[in-house]
């Protein structure tokens, strides 16, 4: 059974890859978690950690995405576009955060961090 967070993370990763100027999506979780995830994956018990970190609680989404950007587009522009698209997706009602007591439109604004980890 896939957690809703994982579904959103997968969707956001795909979304990011369609944004002009985004050259790569990197794991946003700290490295140790990624390594542990890699080990767990080999045992086929747990799915690998998503590249995009997604969590939700009390009606609020929290997302962190790390991207590499093309040097031909200003990095901050690409970063802002990525952030806007993520917010758009999260507020579109495609998924509801955990703890939401009302329809998606009434939930708290999502907290989104886009980290530009590589340029060029």
């Amino acid at each position: 059974m896939t957690a809703p967070e994982d579904t959103v993370a997968d969707a956001l990763e795909l979304l990011l890859r369609t944004i002009p100027g985004v050259a790569a999506v990197y794991p946003s979780a700290p490295l140790p978690a990624v390594i542990v995830g890699g080990v767990l994956t080999k045992t086929r018990v747990v799915a690998p950690p998503r590249l995009v970190s997604v969590s939700s609680a009390r009606g609020e989404w929290r997302v962190t995405a790390a991207i590499g950007v093309d040097e031909n587009v200003p990095a901050e522009q690409t970063g802002r576009a990525a952030r806007e698209r993520i917010v758009e997706y999260l507020t579109s009602g495609a998924a509801s955060p955990a703890g939401a007591t009302s329809p998606a439109s009434a939930t708290l604004p999502p907290r989104v961090t886009v980290r530009i980890s590589m340029v060029g």
């Binding site: 490295l31 990624v34 929290r62 040097e71 200003p74 990095a75 901050e76 970063g79 802002r80 990525a82 952030r83 604004p109 999502p110 907290r111 989104v112 961090t113 886009v114 980290r115 530009i116 980890s117 590589m118 340029v119 060029g120």
Partner: protein, 263 residues
């Protein structure tokens, strides 16, 4: 069979048991080989009359010098005798390290709130600076540092880069190009408030085709004994570049601010 190690300190007698040569304490004027090696390592300082006037000691010092030379040759020979570097071996190292880069601090480029913002890592910022400097002909950017409160949006930031330039280049003009490129690229990508870019020229390379003395494997080796590196470092102190002549010295720093990109 491997000989076993005897970790007890040797007695003075050991020096007398050499098969081929009797190195007696008398012959070495009461000194030991170890003392002589330490004396040699210290550059024969401070002068020791008893060693300097003993024929036996001088002979031993010549041996020591010769052995040092042989050792360096041996290291070179060992190095040259290694099998060609295996590409798979290098790839394997690179695949291990690729995912381990210290990203450094998060530098905000948009949005002030901690939980909803766009940031760029310090590491990515350095990559922008390197790429910008490298675009100038003959220039390699080395280490890059930022001063100022990187974590506060809009705070004034200073950039300091080390650079390697080509022999014969006008260092001041080249540094200015490096500075312009860096200011322009950092602003374009991040909107950061870069107020100064200091370019420290720490190496002046001879063009590789002139370097016929090299063995071709390494190009210009700027290691400790590399002539280029040594000379430019010697010249390149932070002081003494005021004249602004073409070979004017190492530290070509300047304040950019809004003027950095114009001039």
């Amino acid at each position: 069979m491997t000989p076993t190690d005897d970790t007890s300190p040797p007695s003075g007698d050991d020096l007398r048991t050499l098969p081929d040569r009797q190195l007696t304490n008398d012959e070495l004027a009461g000194h030991t080989i170890d003392e002589l090696i330490d004396y040699y390592d210290a550059g024969l300082m401070p002068p020791n009359d008893s060693i300097d006037t003993s024929a036996g000691c001088q002979l031993a010092l010549a041996d020591i010098a010769h052995l040092r030379q042989l050792t360096m040759h041996l290291v070179d020979d060992d190095s040259a005798a290694q099998p060609p570097v295996d590409e798979g071996w290098i790839t394997s190292i690179l695949s291990h390290i690729g995912a381990q880069v210290e990203a450094g601090r998060d530098v905000p480029v948009f949005g002030a709130e901690v939980d909803s913002r766009v940031v760029i890592t310090e590491g990515a910022l350095r990559a922008i600076v390197r790429a910008a400097g490298d675009r100038v002909d003959g220039v390699f950017v080395g280490r890059c540092r930022f001063a100022g409160d990187l974590t506060e949006l809009g705070a004034p930031i200073e950039v300091e880069v080390e650079a390697s330039m080509l022999w014969g280049q006008n260092l001041m003009q080249t540094a200015e190009l490096v500075r312009e490129n860096i200011v322009a690229d950092v602003r374009r990508h991040t909107l950061l408030n870069v107020v100064a870019v200091n370019v420290v020229v720490q190496d002046v390379r001879r063009p590789s085709h002139v370097d016929e003395g090299g063995d071709g494997r390494e190009g210009n080796d700027g290691g400790p004994e590399g002539s280029d590196g040594g000379r430019s470092r010697g010249r390149g102190g932070r002081e003494g570049n005021d004249g602004g002549g073409p070979e004017g010295g190492g530290d070509v720093s300047g304040v950019g601010g809004t003027g950095g990109a114009e001039r």
